[in-house]
Amino acid sequence: MAFSVPLISLRRRVMDHAMTGASVLTVLLVLLPLFAIFAYLVYMGIGSINLAFLTQTPKPVGEPGGGMANAIVGSMVILAIASLLGVPLGIGAGIFLSEYGRNRYGDIVRFVSDVLNGVPSIVIGIVAYGLVVMRQKHFSALAGGVALAIMMIPTIARTTEQMLLLVPQAIREAAYGLGVSRWRTTLSITLRTATSGVITGVMLAFARVAGETAPLLFTAFGNQFWNWKMDQPTAALSLQIFTYAISPYDEWHRQAWAGALVLIILIVSAVAAVRIAVKHGTLSGA
């Protein structure tokens, strides 16, 4: 045969296989810590979670037992405050961006949201300290909630915007054509059509701040006891994990692991619960 297919040189073939192997290796290297973290977390956590852990407050150093009940409740309170403040404002900003902000002003808000998203959480903590703690003269759940709300808003705004933009303009026009006013269309048609996407965005923001510790250090501050007042230092799960992890006591280390497991379970179940609730609320044919 005068014509033959040119062979790919050995060097190139070796290179090809080597790089394929290398990228498979990177995947394994990345998955390794993930599995290590989860496995270790579950292994250490399950052994330490018991009824006392979930129902009692911390015991003084040296005494065995005790738990993080107040921190679990405290985290929930702080997150509730954060959601109450952050979710409506974030969704409102998202509606602004998609329905009123297809212009220069919208671009400014879009850019600022992206910038806010990149601000380190510890810096947000300083701001909440200045805004709330300095005025009230003491640490509080409210201050913690404000810090976390500031972190939630840009994420919620941007995902809400994207989800609303996915709703076809034809759907909006259908409502306008029926003589439905713009605000009603936006809330009852556009937002409702995008509900599941918007909620996913909210849960994303929620999950992101639920485990935050840095902005709570000097806002919620932490508390060894039960506290039911919004304007008093409040315990949070993540703060407690931090305090216990850097302490020199084995008993506290054990509880830190338990706390970490509970924290992750709370985050995952909150996200899952909302997902399921949303699924049940929508029609099968949709």
Binding site: S23, G92, L116
Partner: protein
């Protein structure tokens, strides 16, 4: 008929000849006589206007938040700025007892730990992204990207916890002695292997930023048009050559953007770093030595800062951190946009 009294302009409707509709082949359906309009009366425009302004207010609030952050930081750091000026950023003396504050050790620690994290994370995350977009069987793709994103959902404090009890011992027992033996001559890996220190901070940061870099790189790689790949393949390239020339080269700016975005996250990361870096405001050459970052000094000392100047110095560190991360993030966004912008934007009309 209601329109008979109206002025007739150029096109007048001809007189109707209602013939066919009445006698035409009637279909089975019969339309009942309409009832009177159910929705009558004036519609107020006020709710619409009000709603529009409430939404605009929410948009403005986002901008106001940023303004508020800047204001708080600038006002809070005024005292320290007046006391030290630019020297604040080049002095390495951090002494609360004598009210002397220099931020250099923290800046140094932040930069070194972040760069170290990038050195470890970049090859890994780009590798993962390339694997997922170019090599991975479709079935595995979803699972892999989900798992890498799961890494991003783990709270920072849990990473720190794991780092203290798992990563640090491993570094101390195995990695650091090995590095000291093989690369000790560079003086980067010398000194006693505590485990805790700059190296540990770099490694845990790397683990934390891999999901960010790889997911954005993945996004950028999928934007590279298929014909770019085919063009290179058609020249007889191997798969790796296709990836290198057809994919990576085209996505370069976006990948750099992803890396910078990862850097932005690493610079501001607080808890995990605070838990393993050793928290000593020193500038040491060895990566085994403890260090301190801007974020961790805030975490550790903010609530203990008794003097006004002390607090102000800390807030100034926060301000510096804020500006650096903003610049880094803006830069990264622009670079990612330059690649993904070509995508058809969803338009309203």
């Amino acid at each position: 008929m209601s329109n008979q009294a109206l002025p007739r302009p150029r096109f007048n409707a001809p007189e109707p000849e209602r013939g066919s509709p009445e006698q035409g082949p009637k279909a089975a359906l019969k339309i009942e006589a309409r009832t009177t309009p159910l929705l009558d009366g004036k519609v107020s425009e006020i709710p619409d206007v009000f709603f529009g302004w409430v939404m605009r207010f929410c948009g403005v609030a986002v901008v106001a938040l940023l303004g508020l952050i800047v204001y708080q930081l600038v006002v809070g750091s005024e005292l320290s700025w007046h006391a030290f000026g630019w020297k604040f950023f080049v002095q390495s003396d951090w002494n609360p007892v004598e009210d002397q504050y220099g931020a250099l050790p923290f800046i140094y620690g932040t930069i070194v730990s972040s760069v170290l994290a990038l050195i470890i994370a970049v090859p890994l995350s780009v590798g993962v992204a390339v694997f997922i977009t170019e090599m991975c069987p479709v079935g595995l793709r979803g699972i892999l990207s989900f798992t890498t994103e799961l890494l991003a959902a783990i709270p920072s404090v849990v990473y720190g916890l794991w780092a203290i009890f798992v990563l640090v011992p491993i570094l101390r027992e195995y990695v650091q002695p090995f590095l000291a033996r093989t690369l000790g001559w560079t003086t980067l890996f010398s000194g006693p292997p505590y485990g805790i220190g700059m190296l540990a901070a770099g490694v845990i940061l790397a683990i934390m930023i891999i999901p960010i870099i790889s997911s954005i790189t993945r996004e950028v790689l999928t934007v590279v048009p298929q014909h770019q790949r085919e063009a290179v393949l058609a020249l007889g390239a191997t798969r790796w050559e296709m990836i290198r020339m057809g994919v990576l080269r085209n996505a370069r700016a976006g990948i750099v953007g992803a890396i910078i975005l990862g850097l932005g996250r690493a610079l501001g990361e607080t808890m995990a770093v605070t838990m393993v870096i050793g928290n000593r405001p020193e500038i040491a050459k060895s990566l085994f030595a403890p260090g301190y970052t801007m974020a961790s000094v805030l975490a550790n000392e903010f609530t203990e800062a008794t003097g006004d100047l002390y607090l102000s110095a800390l807030i100034e560190i926060g301000l510096a951190l804020f500006f650096v991360t903003i610049v880094v993030n803006a830069l990264a966004r622009l670079m990612v946009w330059s690649v993904t912008r070509g995508q058809p934007a969803r338009s309203l009309a």
